[in-house]
């Protein structure tokens, strides 16, 4: 038996106060102040925030196929160190997760690793090629929790319409990577003054929002659930806000880099600031913050995209898109509280309750429920050192940043998978 004692327990819509949690056999047995049990091990959480296990519904682990960038094991360790108890892996592995065999392989590896929970997202289309549907029934039976061609837009509107409709039969959402490739053309960063000065080809905001608007139209046509991935522009935020007002079953996510950085981070041709969608203008960052504050954006994800120096220490034009985020996400997201964008409850909603609701996963601190718990120290100050990351990759623009607040303990089904509670 284990008692998490004296922490501020925050479970959106359920709990917020100093209380204790008693855990046995991976389950929460009791939640009440001052539980005393001489046989129990005590985790002293006083001064800390105790929350339902955080969920990152958008990560890229590179197994199978590109294990030199990240394996399921190293990815899970990075997640645990970042305070996440559940991650949803995107299907752009090699082979692509477009069959139940690949889904089963990922889950088998995750079970062997036995760290955080892995819930795979399978492909919308076979081979991510946008030509034919995958077997959603088979994939769901194997354990897929959503469908996405993330990394590639579904260019053909008819396929997207049918994917939305067909997925509805299984009660699972479609996660859309919204990008109009013709408008992206050879673009490698946000279109605007910085790109012009640096001589880099630009990607206009419309390359994202045109597709967001199409997918919202298809969502309303079909009545099926649509989740928009990695929102980066003001126009997209506006389109999603309006769609929600009309009652469309649409949800959306953004990532810490979009609410923290702008296109200026690319200065010096820093390939660690190259991602897709690109870092945008200060006005877009402001719009993303507003979207988080007013609930237009439901979820904070990392879009954890590990790449090695082979893909990043090259010409900016040739560098791979993406950054890792699992081990910096909580610290960067906590800054939103300081800025007055979110309350701690609002933050936990976006990092646990909302993704759980969208994907039909368990979340929350309930007696009888699984003890998936994250403990956050809001006052822990530290400097990010990418060399200490558990991820196999180092592609982060946040190396060397001063942070205040981080996840210090991660528990999955009562097992402590990360513990830094009493360090520092």
């Amino acid at each position: 038996m284990l008692i998490i004692s004296g922490g501020r327990v925050v479970d959106p819509g359920n709990l917020d106060g100093i209380t204790d949690i008693l855990i046995e056999d991976g389950k929460i047995i009791e939640i009440r102040p001052e539980i005393r049990n001489p046989k129990s091990e005590i985790i002293d959480a006083s001064g800390k925030i105790v929350t339902p296990g955080l969920i990152d519904m958008h990560v890229h682990f590179r197994e199978p196929g590109h294990e030199y960038k990240e394996t399921i094991e190293t990815g899970c360790m990075a997640a645990a160190h970042g305070g996440f108890t559940t991650v949803c892996t995107m299907p752009n592995t090699n082979p692509v997760n477009d069959t139940s065999q690949v889904t089963e392989y990922i889950l088998k590896r995750a079970a062997e690793v036995n760290s955080v929970r892995v819930r795979p997202v399978a492909a919308i289309s076979r081979g991510l090629e946008g030509k034919s549907l995958c077997e959603y029934g088979d994939l769901k039976a194997a354990g897929a929790v959503a469908f996405s061609d993330d990394g590639h837009p579904v260019e053909e509107s008819q396929l997207m319409r049918r994917a939305l409709e067909y997925a509805r039969g299984f009660g699972l959402p479609i996660i859309s990577h919204c990008e109009e490739l013709e408008l992206v053309s050879s673009g490698v960063m946000n279109e605007g003054e910085v790109a012009t000065r640096m001589g880099l080809a630009g990607i206009p905001n419309a390359a994202e929002s045109v597709m967001v608007m199409r997918d919202i139209a298809l969502c309303e046509l079909t009545g099926s659930r649509l989740h928009i991935a990695h929102v980066s522009t003001a126009e997209s935020v506006r389109a999603i806000r309006n769609a929600k007002k009309r009652g469309a079953p649409v949800t959306a996510e953004t990532a810490p880099h979009y609410f923290t950085l702008t296109e200026n981070a690319v200065e010096g041709y820093d390939t660690h600031a190259k991602m897709n969608p690109p870092l945008r203008s200060p006005e877009d960052r402001e719009a993303v913050l507003e979207g988080l504050a007013d609930g237009t954006l439901d979820v904070i994800v990392t879009d954890h995209a590990p790449h090695s120096s082979l893909e990043k220490e090259v010409e900016f034009d040739h560098a791979a898109n993406g950054i890792i985020g699992l081990e910096t996400s909580v610290s960067l997201s906590l800054k939103l509280i300081e800025k007055g964008v979110l309350t701690i409850t609002g933050l936990i909603e976006k990092m646990s309750a909302n993704p759980a609701r969208i994907l039909g996963l368990e979340s929350g601190l309930k007696v009888g429920g699984p003890a998936d718990i994250t403990i956050i120290d809001p006052d822990r100050e530290y400097v990010v050192n990418a060399d200490n990351f558990r991820s196999l990759s180092r592609n982060t623009p946040f190396d060397g940043w001063n942070m205040k607040g981080k996840a210090v303990l991660t528990m999955v089904e009562g097992r402590v998978v990360f513990d830094e509670l009493n360090i520092g």
Binding site: G192, T196, M198, G199, L200, G202, Y269, E313, F316
Partner: protein, 311 residues
């Protein structure tokens, strides 16, 4: 003054004093090229590698001649003969060149920022001979030298740059350099070729060539690439020549002694009419001559400059 820069990457990182020193030194260097024996021993024993990832005749030859006039040894590597075709990374290739004790690497690359990437990692000097659509500082410097030769100064001149600004590293470097030296730069071209936010470099923008040319002291025409039709930047060469090309007719709006410049290679009859390219105020070939002088000046300055006084 002592020239302290290890690398020449773009015009933004050069001060007015440094630009002046480069141009003054180039003027002295030009005299060497006019001697019967066009060679001095100044850079004897120095090794200069010309590392060209993009095809170039003019710029590479110009650097090669500049190196040889100063008695440096120059070696050329092009993309097709380099190990890049065997999958070696740019950084590895450059480190190998440096390991052979190259003193200067002159680099042209199709990716913006590639010379900066090497400059950060190498002890050798890196001179940017054109990177993507970012910068072409030696072209801007030779243009400035040519303008100064004819007009005596750059300060206060009205300079029109016309054509595909979006894809032009020459335009970017000239806008930055010329405005830094006090010129008033105006850009013209079809809106499809004017990149967002270019005004932030200090130039004004018009979509009308006549307006840009009006009262101009210098008119710089940019090369138009036929392939751009495929990305819908302009419909036909015919229309481009009519609306945006420089003809004798349009030239009437400029000052009578306006200089006509072009970085080459020229598409005769497209961005510039043949009679204008060959006309009395065309300095297109002077630009090429001055290119050698400017490159001699830069090689000399990055390799220790004023320590040698024997040219």
């Amino acid at each position: 003054m002592q020239f302290a820069k290890k690398d020449i990457l773009d015009m933004a990182s050069l001060s007015v004093e440094e630009i002046t020193l480069i141009l003054d030194t180039a003027e002295k260097m030009k005299e060497i090229s006019e001697r019967p024996v066009k060679k001095v021993p100044t850079l004897r024993g120095k090794t200069i590698v010309l590392f060209f990832y993009e095809p170039s005749t003019r710029t590479r030859t110009s650097f090669d001649i500049a190196a040889k006039r100063l008695s440096a040894d120059s070696v050329s590597i092009s993309a097709s003969t380099s190990s890049m075709v065997k999958g070696e990374t740019l950084i590895d290739t450059a480190k190998n060149i440096e390991a052979m004790n190259a003193d200067v690497i002159v680099m042209r690359h199709s990716s913006s920022g590639a010379p900066l990437m090497l400059a950060k990692r190498l002890n050798a000097s890196v001179i940017n001979a054109g990177d993507g659509t970012h910068a072409h500082p030696t072209q801007a410097l030779l243009d400035m030298m040519t303008i100064k030769e004819s007009k005596g100064t750059i300060d206060g001149l009205r300079i029109a740059i016309i054509g595909d600004i979006s894809h032009s590293r020459v335009a970017r470097s000239n806008i930055t350099g010329l405005t830094k030296m006090g010129a008033d730069v105006v850009l013209a071209g079809p809106p499809t070729m004017i990149p967002k936010g270019i005004e932030s470099l200090g130039a004004s923008v018009t979509y009308h060539v006549d307006e840009a040319i009006h009262g101009a002291d210098v008119i710089m025409m940019l090369r138009i690439q036929k392939e751009r039709q495929k990305s819908f930047l302009f419909p036909t060469e015919r229309e481009y020549a009519r609306v945006y090309g420089l003809s004798k007719e349009k030239l009437k709006h400029a000052k009578a002694d306006a200089l006509i410049m072009h970085p080459g290679p020229v598409n005769r009859g497209v961005e510039i009419a043949p009679d204008v390219a060959d006309g009395p105020w065309s300095v297109i070939l002077d630009q090429v001559t001055n290119g050698v002088a400017v490159r001699m000046s830069l090689l000399y300055l990055v390799l220790g400059g004023l320590r040698h006084a024997d040219y």
